[in-house]
Amino acid sequence: MLSSSIIESNLNGSSIIFPSITIPKGELLLLKGKSGSGKSTFLHSVAGLVPLLRGHIKIEGHGEISKNIVPKNWRKNALTIIPQRPLFWQSLTVEENIRLSEWSKDIESENIEYILEKLGIIDLSKKAVNKLSLGQQQRLSAARALISKVPVVLADEPTAALDEENTNTLINLFKEHQSETGCSILVSSHDNRLDSIADQIVIL
């Protein structure tokens, strides 16, 4: 379970205040809002990438972030993140980028092929990541996050570059992952197609 009090995040000297949220196990919270409303900053605050001026963020069993203090191994064991822009090591292949994520988290996944197949990029696994289209990169970014079985998944605009079909595939994969691991998912998005799977919607 992920819970946060009202928090004030310190973004390059200016502060942004966010409402409190609670995402029970196995639920998905959709964070909506205009561009510049701070959706990415909130997700990054939860990930411990943006320092807090006040408030706390807690993940059950993994401690809590309070001000600048982020518990050890927070991003390694407590959560995984799908960044807004698909970021990869351009020198590596699709598969190697997945392995890089495994190496970062000290895990060995058994479901890599299954996830890549579900997302329709299994045939690209030996391909250099810079040869992929934006949509393929976005799917790879999701695959990289979903290979780990951490209690919280943070997804920043995960469907921005996806068509209808791939958005549905990703939604199904989120649901499947949630039922398998019981994780809490926090998604920031403008995409109304995600409203149907959200257990809660928070508008910033």
């Binding site: 991003r75 390694k76 090591w89 351009q90 020198s91 190697e96 890089l100 994520s101 970062s104």
Partner: protein, 387 residues
Amino acid sequence: MNSLYFSWKAIWKRRSSTIFISLIWATGLLGFASIQRLNNGVSNALQLQLENTDLLLSAKGSPTRSILANVFHLNEPDGNILRSEVDELIRNYNLQNVRRIAYGDNYNGFRILGCDSATWNNINYIEIKGNLPQKSNDVIIGRNVAQKTGLKIGERFHGTHGLMEHDHNHETTFYTVSGIIYSNAPSWNRLIMGSMNSVWRAHGYSDSNYTAVLARIDNPLDKLLIPKKIQEESSIMAVSPAFEVNNVLNWMHQSSKIFSAISFLFLITAALIMFFLLQSHVKERLGDYALLRALGASWWKIAKIVLWQNIILGSFAILLTYAGLAFIWFGQYTSITLDEIFQKEVYWDLSLDIKWMFACIVLSILTSIGPWIWLQRIPLHRALVDS
């Protein structure tokens, strides 16, 4: 897959800058390594040539010229010394391993040296093809003579009077090549060596004297006293080649220190360039490292990637240095002068390189410290949003 693998992939992606950085390193290292080899090669060659030679007796003249002519065979001797006078001196003093030599004619500019049996025994050779002279007109030739003149075992030739290449021929006196030697004391490789009698016979025994006598003195005090006494008591010049050569070696060591200092500056410059290139490399890859941090990699894991990258660069520099050394080594076959300076046993003695290899790896580690500090300050949020 581990940090080494990911480092290698990152380096491979930037091949041109990798080669550039490694080349700068290798230039400094090659300077170090080749000067060290030059120093050791020359010292080794001189020491081998000076083995068992604490005393040189020759005609009065310049001591340096006499050493160059009679020990290193690089110059013309000042003249001959009377056999009777020398033999008396040898009887009077406690000298060991006495070697008598007599300069004869030349063949294509290479000297023919008359040697006694003690001289034969004193030649340091690594390899001999054929045999040492068995008959009175047999000669053995050095490797460089064989290479330059094309003389082969069993071939006959006649000498030319004097030391110049085109002086008049002694067509009645033929020499036969009985063997070819390759010595690590370079002057032997440039000589044609026969018996003392063959040299005297070429001149009709008209000048059957010695050009020089070389000897060993075991007693350290005698090494100082005997040359002085001989100088005072006879018309023969007596010098201690080791003393003179040590002065040359000391001068050489001083010069090589200057070259080493220049190479060291190269190395420091290379390290600084590497440091700044790595800084910009880390800045360039800020998004990559921020991603790893966002994925949960510890700072130490990322630091290991940077460290491996630097160690790989340092190792490349070491490999390139050896490639440079191999290039010099094979290049020397086109130049006899280099061949005589860079000696096999010294040149490929890799234990000499441990110090600079160690220094190279330490520098690789040290140059990682800057990027490590930089990495700790990565603004992760900005890097993830802006990359």
